[in-house]
Symmetry: C2
Subunit: 549 residues, 2 copies
């Protein structure tokens, strides 16, 4: 079926148009449902999401049946797609989502009589969808399918859209919850622009909210809000894997074994480090956990302790971000002495990884720039303002240097001396080729002598280089593994803090006073989900860097 | 300098990071300056923009000097980049921007004593920047530069960022102006979240606003607001050309003449149509202009005429959009019978065009979906609601089908039978190659007999095909030229209406009542600039389709 695809972009166009339209419709309903004034109810949103999940499940079952019955449908498998840590993370987050669905069902069942049936149906359908989709992605993430191209593209895009809609709904629901707890804590009713669904004016039973008084119901409610971050990450993980599958539809690969898959030896997984990185990272992780718990306890307590909690929180973050910046920088410096070739092969998974890292960092960048302007332009200059400014500046630096480090790491070829099928001749060779190219087309350019000279006797000099490079590259590899593990652990703790509800953006009143509550809440609620996703995605990328280096 | 570029993405990373950071800083200040409550003044924004324009001008002068002194710096020129209609449009909009700068200088000079100097300096610096940049883009848009790669990338990205910042500032300024005229028309002070700079509380002279009483000052003020759309388009045109230049930095092309440049013969430029398209398009254009003027007069008059004006406005739009949808669809149908090969070559200009068409359409899509939800969920069902719903649905259909038509047109190769260096063998050949490829790698796939058979005697069958195809393709070409001219004229009138201030979104009270003024204003003010840019960009793409088909 391959040769029928005359124009790949045309085939993709249809599915992108479908996805854009469905996503915008979902976006409209979800954002409309978040606002109290707007007459869109959360039951409308639940109904839409349930219908989308049912359709996506049907398509997935159809896909699984078809590929089972017709083994020729998947002639190639992309070795880069769906690595084991991504699929493992998907299963982990999927299990947490299932627990969340149990809690949600329990919560809504507690006042069954005054809720519409869709609110109980929704988590049940979601549980089914999660099970089916996780199984589908586990076995099919690497597929390059070659039958029913257009239908498969549309199906994949629709499933992707469903995941993004679930993500949006979860993010909005969490923001509403945060805003509700903020306003109830500050008891300032003029700021109530977003309100929780329990307070909704137009609820089916009129003005009387359903009570959630029983202890079980309270536990269910608390529990499902703490499990939201996992549901959010599950949707995003599934989306990235579906996107790579969509890019791989109809793709022709040179051969099944293309030599760049580089499956790591399982034995060496937790050796080959100096132990400095993991130990330091683990220490920061534990300290961070303690700081986070202290912060949460002190902020939710009486007013007097808030400033103290903020000082501790910001101090820890500044130390952590500073160390991460320095470590990322030293990693980039190590790469300056690395002679491995850059991997120039086409790789949809990596391109997506890089785009997501750069794109998701924009969220935290934006928050930081708004903080900087508020502190610099705003008049009150105190300790908290200074800490906030340092925190925002370091946040920008850390994101920048970490992205540079990760992106450079992902583009390095597999380690030079070890695999016999990939000798370290690549750097010289590719440079010599480039030189020849340039000599053909650009006669004025003199050839670089130091790089062009090894080409007459490539075999000898390469072996010599391999012998010389072997011990050194081993030292570098250890360093890089230490660096990636340290950054990984730091990113985990910096993920936990915002994902489980730390919002210094609102406790520290600098920006709230400068921008006004509603504007600042809009900025934070739109940008922070991307910042949280960035941490999660950086963790998975750093795991890849750790394994590859 | 070519061979030194081992890893192109790494070179791009630095400039993208620079651009992202500068853009976010500008975005923060500009959005902060738009809100009355926030203590960021428009003088801060003007100062930032002036500094950016000065820096960008210096870099452009440095670039021009360097390429003048060293002719080897630009070994290749991209034939697709900077086509004549894009550069012509740039000069046209640049001249309008210069006129706007004159008006702005005149306006701010009218009350020189109570304004800070930066407000007069800003339009003067902008005029200089526009002149230098237009000259730079006119002569350098096709360059593939090969010296100082990193510096050039950073310079181009910084200039691009400057243009985007100017665009953002202009859009925000226009939205503030619109909101101000809306609130002063409805005299409902509770909605005044955005306010014009004259009403700003913290202005340098305290509570006393500078009067703009003289007739000259009034003319200047009115004039410069009507010239904003041209400034906005200028910035976006310059941005797209700079982006293509940035993509072309360090690019190696096969040869200077790559045969796909397809410069059209100037003689045939306004012939070869059935005249139906241009005539019908011109009629719609004139009717639309009359409807627009009627609408503006009636809406700005007393209340009673608003509904009548809206009915006329929506009726015209529905007819226009319906015709455009049908015509785009018939264009796509014609392509189903077209045997020209799809052009699969790498072409940054076209990739950007497609991305911009798809991305900019999102703005109008979003507005339409919000309208649909408001009309469908909202209770009052009257004539205006029905018209609004039909308008929103047709808007989505028209954007979708027009995008499909344009994107397919841009990917068609140059017309088959005429140019002797490009015989119509391409479709068969590329398919046969694909078949061979597939036969190598995919032994289970049977070759398509109808396509594989002409390969033994290619010369004979191709000549026969050329003879058979010649008259037919000529008939199709005429049709396609008609279609593109008709769509072009319709897009121009649909650009004029919103660009020069028609806002049925606010006059028709359906959405304002459903979402509340502030939410709906935020949606429209963020999305409409993209919708307006879409029209402009569609016009330039349709001109390209007209010339190429």
């Amino acid at each position: 079926a391959g040769p029928r695809e005359v124009w790949k972009k045309g085939g993709r166009l249809l599915s992108v148009l479908l996805a854009v339209n469905v996503l915008l419709l979902a976006c409209t309903l979800i954002s409309g449902g978040a606002f109290n004034k707007v007459a869109v109810y959360d039951t409308d949103v639940f109904a839409l999401l349930t219908a989308m999940m049912l359709l996506a499940t049907l398509w997935i079952l159809f896909y699984l049946l078809r590929t089972l019955r017709c083994p020729d449908a998947v002639p190639y498998r992309d070795a880069h797609a769906g690595p084991i840590w991504l699929r493992g993370g998907l299963v982990l987050f999927g299990i947490c989502t299932l627990v969340m669905d149990v809690f949600k069902t329990g919560y809504y069942s507690s006042f069954f009589e005054c809720q519409s049936a869709i609110k109980i149906l929704h988590p049940l359908i979601q549980a089914m969808f999660v099970v089916v989709q996780t199984y589908f992605l586990w076995i099919s993430a690497k597929d390059c399918i070659h039958v029913h191209l257009d239908l498969t593209r549309c199906g994949l895009m629709f499933t992707l859209t469903t995941n993004l809609a679930i993500w949006m709904a979860a993010v909005v629901d969490e923001s509403v919850h945060q805003a509700h707890s903020y306003t109830s804590a500050h008891s300032n009713t003029s700021h109530t622009r977003l309100a929780s669904d329990l307070e909704r004016v137009g609820s089916p039973v009129g003005g009387d909210p359903c009570p959630c008084n029983t202890a079980v119901c309270q536990i269910f409610q608390q529990g499902y809000f703490y499990l939201y971050p996992f549901n959010i990450e599950y949707s995003l993980f599934a989306s990235t894997m579906l996107y790579v599958m969509w890019k791989n539809v109809g793709r022709l690969l040179a051969s099944t074994h293309d030599g760049h898959g580089h499956t790591p030896t399982q034995v060496s997984l937790f050796r080959e480090t100096f132990f400095a990185g993991p130990v330091l990272g683990l220490m920061l992780f534990l300290v961070g956990l303690a700081v986070f718990i202290t912060y949460e306890v002190q902020v939710s307590g009486e007013e007097g302790h808030t400033e103290q909690a903020l000082v501790i929180y910001y101090s820890f973050n500044i130390v952590c971000l500073g160390l991460m910046t320095l470590v990322s920088l030293s990693g980039s410096v190590i790469y300056r002495f690395d002679r491995r070739a850059m991997d120039q092969h086409k790789n949809p998974t990596r391109t997506l990884d890089v785009a997501l890292l750069m794109g998701a960092a924009l969220g935290q960048y934006a928050i930081s720039y708004y903080s900087i302007v508020a502190v610099v332009v705003g008049t009150p200059r105190n300790l908290l303002g200074g800490l906030n400014l340092a925190h925002a500046l370091l946040m920008i630096a850390q994101h920048t240097f970490q992205n540079v480090f990760i992106i450079e790491s992902l583009h390095r070829g597999p380690p030079g001396p070890e695999p016999p099928d990939n000798p370290p001749k690549e750097p010289c060779q590719s440079l010599t080729f480039a030189n020849h190219d340039a000599l053909h087309t650009l006669p004025t350019c003199p050839p670089t002598p130091s790089l062009a000279s090894p080409s007459p006797s490539p075999a000898d000099s390469q072996e010599a280089a391999a012998i010389i490079l072997a011990p050194r590259s081993h030292w570098r590899r250890r360093c890089l593994k230490d660096i990636s593990l340290f950054l990984l652990l730091c990113n985990v703790i910096l993920w936990i803090m915002p994902a489980f509800g730390a919002r210094p953006h609102f406790s520290n009143m600098v920006e709230v006073n400068f921008y006004g509550y509603s504007l600042w809440a809009a900025i934070v609620n739109i940008c922070l989900p991307f910042g949280i996703f960035y941490r999660m995605h950086a963790v998975s990328s750093l795991l890849e860097v750790y394994v590859l280096s």
